[in-house]
């Protein structure tokens, strides 16, 4: 195993920049998830590492070795594809043996390693079958096995779980994480599903428009998104983002939403907001929106749009002017559409972004300790 380093890599297709100066360091044994919406350049980045595409600029290193110009076969990587890419004309055994055969491994050793890999993945009984005789989950395991059968420097995975049904996906997610922990493999994992990234990865790299937005451990990315894009992308349901002007009311700082609502700010948040060049974007997670059925001073009036009970907790979609806002309440919370509900944003976990630059406004003081507990709980429920 070895680490993977990307230095200012660029991939251009004519005038289109698919990957724009991305730098990333994956430590030996680390599980790094590349996440972002489709078309953000994450798969292109992975294919650049694999050598399936040619770099326009920048360097890629595996361990200490520069591999910019190496053929895919000489990079000593293994890859799991979204559609598994099992060789349809070969039996499972030969699928697993192929990477070894191509590297001139002796026959006896091939047999031993294929058996061992099949054992680890509990697919021994499938070795004589053709891929199309397997279920989706079994195909997925074989694809994983074909990567595992060698000891590559690193594993590249391109949305390996997205073709599985929801239940199997959760199960395979746990298996993949367990497998990573057991063999200490370096994994570069591409997904559009931020949930997979949050649950499995040691670090996540959020990409948008070919640009790396933020790179760090999932809880850090979740708790301190550096800009509006990351804030909206990471977390489920998405963070509520409202545009507001910074103003003052009753002698303290306040936000005046474009929809006309007024919400007071704590002194610390008021100082942050004051640093903005103009309007701010207010970000608030669903579990940091406090709900009240009675009017309270300083709270904002909203109307219930719809109520979604999920069993564990209830998501309440609220209408605030033309915007929708998601809040969560306990499992028994119910309301009829168009009921009046008052909300308050938790001051300790309010995210503030400059509306113009979309960058996070730095924290003036230490964040209230409640915020940390709050986001941790939110991540648990989101998972």
């Amino acid at each position: 195993m070895a680490g993977v380093t990307l230095r200012e890599i660029v991939k251009e297709y004519g005038d289109v920049v698919a990957v724009d100066h991305v730098s990333l360091e994956v430590q030996d044994g680390e599980f790094v998830a590349l996440v972002g919406p489709s078309g953000c350049g994450k798969t292109t980045t992975l294919n650049l590492v694999a050598g399936l595409l040619e770099l326009t600029d920048g360097d890629i290193l595996i361990g200490d070795k520069l591999i910019n110009d190496l053929d895919p076969k000489d990079r000593d990587l293994a890859m799991v594809f979204q559609n598994y890419a099992l060789y349809p004309n070969k039996k499972v055994y030969d699928n697993l043996a192929f990477p070894l055969k191509m590297r001139g491994t002796p026959k006896g050793e091939i047999a031993a390693r294929v058996r061992k890999t099949a054992e680890i993945l509990s697919i021994e009984h499938l070795l004589d079958r053709k891929p199309k005789q397997l279920s989706g989950g079994q195909q997925q395991r074989v694809a994983l096995g074909r990567a595992l059968v060698r000891n590559p420097k690193a594993f590249l995975m391109d949305e390996p779980l997205s073709n599985l049904d929801a239940k199997l996906r959760v199960q395979m997610r746990a298996e993949l994480k367990r497998f990573h922990q057991e063999i200490g493999a370096t994994v570069l994992y591409v997904t559009h599903d931020q949930m997979e990234a949050v649950t499995m990865a040691d670090k996540m790299a959020v990409m948008s428009g070919g640009v790396l937005q933020q790179y760090g451990p999932p809880d850090e990315v979740y708790r301190h998104p550096v800009n509006v894009f990351v804030a909206g992308f990471v977390g489920s349901p998405s963070m509520n983002l409202l545009r507001a002007a910074v103003t003052a009311a009753d002698g303290q700082g306040a936000l005046r939403g474009t929809e006309g609502w007024l919400h007071p700010l704590s002194p610390a948040n008021a100082r942050r907001a004051a640093a903005s060049s103009g309007d701010v974007m207010v970000g608030i997670r669903h579990n940091q929106v406090h709900l009240s059925r009675e009017e309270r001073p300083g709270w904002v009036e909203t109307r219930v749009y719809t109520v979604e009970p999920t069993g564990d907790l209830t998501y309440v979609h609220l209408r605030l002017g033309g915007q929708l806002l998601v809040a969560s309440a306990d499992a028994e919370w119910r309301a009829a559409p168009d009921d009046r509900v008052w909300v308050e944003f938790d001051q300790g976990s309010l995210h503030l972004f400059d509306a113009q630059t979309e960058l996070a406004l730095p924290l003036a003081d230490a964040v209230a300790s409640g915020a940390t507990v709050g986001s941790a709980r939110a991540m648990a429920t989101a998972g």
Binding site: N47, A50, K73, N83, A85, Y87, P88, N89
Partner: protein
């Protein structure tokens, strides 16, 4: 009857008696599916649409369906009767062949026409076998050379983006947009310049000019259907680009290659116009032209001609059956879940 029908509609499920009646009605309607019949079903359908729907679900023919079957039957008759007549005549003696009225089943079937054609010691047999050899050689050479070019070409068209790819891809078809005869004289002059007239190579090259574009088109379709991820996986697994093609893609496209080969072979096998124009020596004639020569030389020997025609059509029929199998296989082979 109308009373029965209305009760049938009234009962949601329909009793067995009603069902039987419906079935019989439908059968009658089918039996008299002529323009006079619709007056009654039309009235009935307006009153009881449910009955008609139920009848249709039991696969009773609609007017369009009936027309389709009639059309297919005519087509079948049109294609099968000449073949049947050919086989029947080929099994008769010369006298029996011109019997009036003609008999479908030969009174005294004989295979002497076939043994004569396949006997190299007889003049007719020697000629015939030589035509056959020539045809086999020309068709095979066309097929093999065509594939040697078409396989890599279609793979390149399918996988690589290069300047002018689409233009080039469509331009390979230009040759097939013109009638065969348009190129007859120009190609003849070209072949004369190349001193290839009256040689098999003139035919092989000519057949390639129209067989190759079609082969490339056919094969490109097959390669397009093979996911590029398979090659990518192979390359990461340690294969070179060529190994990825040779070890993974080629075996997967073999149904396509076989289908294309058979198609190219049949094209060469059946071609007449160029063979007639380019070949002058009797010893180089291919089967279609050779057969035509039989017509003039042995005009009275109908059974012999029919036997020769039949032998010539056998490879085509056999290959077409095989072709169908491979096409189906190529279509149903689900390579990758996507």
């Amino acid at each position: 009857m109308s009373a029965n029908l209305s009760t049938g509609v009234g009962a949601s499920g329909g009793s067995t008696a009603d069902a039987g009646l419906d079935g019989r009605d439908a059968r009658i309607a089918a039996a008299i599916a002529t323009p006079t019949a619709p007056s009654r079903p039309a009235v009935r359908s307006r009153v009881q649409p449910a009955t008609r729907r139920r009848a249709r679900r039991r696969c009773r023919p609609t007017p369009i369906g009936v027309l389709g079957w009639v059309f297919l039957a005519v087509l079948l008759f049109f294609t099968v009767v000449p073949m049947a007549w050919m086989v029947s005549t080929s099994l008769k003696s010369s006298f029996a062949a011109i019997d009036q009225p003609p008999r479908w089943i030969p009174a005294e079937p004989t295979i002497v026409n076939y043994t004569k054609l396949l006997n190299p010691d007889e003049t007719v047999g020697a000629d015939f076998l030589r035509y056959m050899r020539n045809s086999v050689w020309v068709s095979t050479a066309t097929t093999v050379l065509g594939l040697i070019v078409a396989v890599p070409a279609s793979y390149a068209f399918s996988r690589f983006a290069f300047p002018g790819r689409d233009t080039l891809f469509f331009s390979v078809l230009v040759r097939n947009m013109f009638p065969t005869v348009v190129f007859l004289i120009p190609l003849f002059i070209l072949m004369r310049r190349l001193t290839l007239v009256d040689s098999h190579w003139s035919l092989i090259l000519t057949y390639l000019t129209f067989g190759l574009p079609l082969s490339i088109w056919l094969l490109k379709g097959f390669y397009d259907n093979i996911p590029v991820e398979l090659e990518q996986a192979a390359r990461i697994d340690g294969a070179t680009r060529f190994q990825a093609f040779y070890l993974i893609v080629m075996p997967l496209s073999s149904p396509g290659i076989i289908a294309t080969a058979i198609y190219a072979f049949i094209q060469g096998w059946n071609e007449y116009v160029y063979a007639r124009t380019f070949i002058q020596s009797d010893r180089l004639l291919t089967m279609p032209v050779g057969l035509q020569k039989f017509f003039t030389e042995y005009a009275s020997d109908w059974p012999g001609l029919m036997a020769a025609s039949f032998i010539m059509s056998v490879p085509v029929v056999v290959l077409f059956l095989a072709l169908q199998k491979y096409f189906v296989q190529a279509l149903t082979e689900g390579a990758v879940k996507s």
